[in-house]
Point group: D3
Chain length 232, copies 6
Amino acid sequence: MTARHVVVGNHDRVDPALVAALGAGGVATVHEAQGRSGLFLPRLRPIYPGATVSGTAVTVLCRPGDNLMIHLAVEGCRAGDVLVVAMTAESEDGLLGELLATSLRAHGVVAAILDCGVRDVAALREMEFPVWSRAVSAEGTSKIAAGSVNVPVVCAGQSVSPGDAIVADDDGVVCVPAASAAAVLARVTERVAAEVALRVRLATGELSADIQGLRDLAVSLGVEYVDGISPG
Amino acid sequence: MTARHVVVGNHDRVDPALVAALGAGGVATVHEAQGRSGLFLPRLRPIYPGATVSGTAVTVLCRPGDNLMIHLAVEGCRAGDVLVVAMTAESEDGLLGELLATSLRAHGVVAAILDCGVRDVAALREMEFPVWSRAVSAEGTSKIAAGSVNVPVVCAGQSVSPGDAIVADDDGVVCVPAASAAAVLARVTERVAAEVALRVRLATGELSADIQGLRDLAVSLGVEYVDGISPG
Amino acid sequence: MTARHVVVGNHDRVDPALVAALGAGGVATVHEAQGRSGLFLPRLRPIYPGATVSGTAVTVLCRPGDNLMIHLAVEGCRAGDVLVVAMTAESEDGLLGELLATSLRAHGVVAAILDCGVRDVAALREMEFPVWSRAVSAEGTSKIAAGSVNVPVVCAGQSVSPGDAIVADDDGVVCVPAASAAAVLARVTERVAAEVALRVRLATGELSADIQGLRDLAVSLGVEYVDGISPG
Amino acid sequence: MTARHVVVGNHDRVDPALVAALGAGGVATVHEAQGRSGLFLPRLRPIYPGATVSGTAVTVLCRPGDNLMIHLAVEGCRAGDVLVVAMTAESEDGLLGELLATSLRAHGVVAAILDCGVRDVAALREMEFPVWSRAVSAEGTSKIAAGSVNVPVVCAGQSVSPGDAIVADDDGVVCVPAASAAAVLARVTERVAAEVALRVRLATGELSADIQGLRDLAVSLGVEYVDGISPG
Amino acid sequence: MTARHVVVGNHDRVDPALVAALGAGGVATVHEAQGRSGLFLPRLRPIYPGATVSGTAVTVLCRPGDNLMIHLAVEGCRAGDVLVVAMTAESEDGLLGELLATSLRAHGVVAAILDCGVRDVAALREMEFPVWSRAVSAEGTSKIAAGSVNVPVVCAGQSVSPGDAIVADDDGVVCVPAASAAAVLARVTERVAAEVALRVRLATGELSADIQGLRDLAVSLGVEYVDGISPG
Amino acid sequence: MTARHVVVGNHDRVDPALVAALGAGGVATVHEAQGRSGLFLPRLRPIYPGATVSGTAVTVLCRPGDNLMIHLAVEGCRAGDVLVVAMTAESEDGLLGELLATSLRAHGVVAAILDCGVRDVAALREMEFPVWSRAVSAEGTSKIAAGSVNVPVVCAGQSVSPGDAIVADDDGVVCVPAASAAAVLARVTERVAAEVALRVRLATGELSADIQGLRDLAVSLGVEYVDGISPG
């Protein structure tokens, strides 16, 4: 049986250019582009509005109330990484604050995704280190519990492997597995172009019901039009 | 038995002048003025602070994860409407984003109230299209499930009929049934005047306990004053 | 048996200078400095970002949906007090709004901590009266239910006695019992100094794993280093 | 404007034979038979397993923590009624216990549906008075707050009018509006017959995928069969 | 400043005869009898129905996911004690299972109240060791985190001191402070007698509205009787 | 890019003898034996007490409110399988009832694990088909949404691959990956033996604090013994 608690030193990462291009698409579009998969549960919220990031996942698995493994993860981080912290059990304790953020930034990390709490949020906002978390909590942490670094984890309902592409914005957080990043980007590009064209038509009052033939579909599903609107 | 899924084309609406006047009162005052009724559950929150709207309800009933009926609702909308989306079962999926908001705005809709999730919130904030929702989620949607447009619905615990007045601000969302809108407005006007006068007195240090005789009431309820404050 | 519902007029308060100094430390540091105790549950959130306050607790115990006892608490308040409202049962109703805040401010209260809802948040933000609450809700209140003022309460999971020091910021709310305020402040001062020094080292890329010897600890706990990072 | 707090004495009720026949169908079947509508939110759970009831709704609207209006509702109850208690705001306080159940039973009420808490559950189980509630809580009640009896309410997300048919079992609670009870019963009868026949086929190993042609549908939706199962 | 983590060896306990007599009253009655105070939050539920216990509190304060302090608490337990476990932060991990229950029983403990999870519930049910907890979870525990034994704690929203009387049944859990146990018992006895008499009257169809004069109260609160019931 | 929605026909399964032996260990022991990993979130609860099952996972990924893919999964099931249903977004709708259970049983499935709701629970209890779910809900389902069968999924926070061993009892649900099943079983066997021996010692009053040296550990962590108990 393999060791249960490991710190893995090396892993592949999605190409930075790919990651940046995915990030430009935004969370909602990337999520759609990969078949409505990869989204973290919406309980993860940004600590301040307007942040948009993309990067490659460094994964950490922690016990509730203990951030020992985040400390151990720092030295394996590189420029462009995003810290992804999963928990062995549900907890809202604040596992990351200003000091760890300072250390992570010094090693190139651009953001943190925490399926737990975060603290020092005023300082993090001031230093513009974006964090998506399930809670804000000053509940402090011990550094006494074994866990793992850079193993596959489940964070907020989403499987993440080290090196996967992570995109996060005001809409939430999405993971693009390394193996499919290029294919997803192709679809993202298509969708963005299509949405630009559609937005212009909708803004002038055209109806998606007309453009996409939705009324006929609805009628075929048993929807009746009554009292003044006819389905075509 | 009537059809189960319908799109209703025409319905009466509360007079726009009445709606605007109610909106000036704000959610908390309107709610008090109609006997502490009409409030949507507080799980509905605005996607950005400071927005205040009022309008007439266009109601939509959707299945979780499917926004077909929102698309079909657009063509029946008029200037001054507020979209109210109820669900057949609890869900946080993001049923509305920038494209639908663009389309709704082109048809006069001033805001959306969603008992589900919303996506593209950065874009919605930038275009200043206010939304009250129970979650932010990039979880995308299908367009394959039948529902209804402009039938009476229950949205976040509140009954809403098409054409009712809706007021929403940072405190939440309240519905004023069309039949009682004029009477409620009369009470709102009274309350606003009374509150202005009361605020001045409180700001100078007068006590509501004195102004409203609350200490005698408390003593009659069995409250004892001990150790230095006497009830009169 | 003592009376069940009381309004207590006089109580000791932590020295204002002590309170102010604790407030300068911030919630997360104060919480750590007193042995990770005193924190209110993270469900209490500020109604707008950036507020930082400290003060001495005036406690109120209310029934759900009724704010009679808050009205009765005002006259016992002094400059530098923080209102702490606990509930006899769980509720999100909005027990405090602009009028009560105006009255509280006129009597010196600097903030309110509510284990229930708050309303008129736009007005409170404008008048810069900070509130930490578990919900925003326009659900109004009666003034008909007996409760108590300035008795020991449990608010959001935390025991608070009248006169205790309260510190609140974006990270949450913490209570420092009057008896230990001086001792906690001493530790806060130590921690702040240590954190300043540590931040400088971490910002230049030093590892907490090195500074604090965490790798040896991890190995002793059974963590294995694999694939490229060695624990020393 | 109509009075805000009323006790309505008389209302129509669905025919008892219809109600009993609906009850025999069970909650899940009735819900399906009326187009997947009428279901109370699943947060309502029975206090003991195995109870199955049907009856006609007597509706009550209460303030959190106060059961005055339930006391006032008793005298209007008749044999075969089901008490349906809605709240003006969310609360888990225990508004009904053994004494009220004794009184309700003496007036013919067969069950209670509470969007709040219940207490004395051991006694209720022993006297076999079934209750569906959102919580069990000994949190007691005042009798000081005005509300209404036999007005239309929203209980656990569901609109209920006095006299509507209510069916409740281990699966939850469903409401059938008086106007459509006969039509829904006809559909219930059809469904029950169809399900009996289908159950026999499925028990012998036939596949619903074959019987209902679901594989072709899936393929048309873009589902691919790989590695050993073919869609036909 | 006093030590932050302590194991206190000796403490007073409420007299066993008093505790037993309180237990006979049941949770709902005890809670009412002490002025609707002392109730733990309703999130604590029994792991099997029908258990009723009373005893004296042994208090434990644990970190999430760690039960070291429960192990240390055992030797200070005596016949008739009830274990009360509070947490430093919210957690549902299963801190107690069959082995600890076996050990606690060997030292006289009759039940456990856990503001966290419990595991081995099938075994606990079979050995008839009742537990009230906020979750069932097999999530295991470490034994590495300092905490305290027999200090005042807040468990599920309720303050508990070592030696206080605890009563628990299907309705939940209530704490009676040692100092007021005798006075509360006197009230419990009165209430039980009054309820017996009232139950007889209600069972024969008398109305609490008549017995307690509730209709006049309601009318004075603004309730209107319409359509067939008159308030007197 | 691979197909997004697939039905996979063949997959390996853990050896039935291994699965049965793991099941005999129970959820809590298996979870401990594999290093406190593999546990589904405690929100999954059995629909009736006392059921204990083990089997090999057949995985299904569904959209909220739609069970098309469960219907398609049946024909790939074999004797000894356990159905594991994951969702693309959070939902409590009842995706499985008596008819599907009848069909699954006819194809050898022994239990279902659902990260959504279940319906017909009275019938399921009677036919003794155990289900672990996050809710009971009669909310019905469509059969119109594409998903997948027998792909790796995340169900209630736990990664599951087709063919993995699943153990479920009153404590919850745990997954043992196929690759480590034999190694985990070896540890389970050791633990069970050790627990039997330890139970005997604890039942006679020996202290785990003595047996495991926990007092010295506590003192080294800063715990102080005061007032009558000495740490050794």
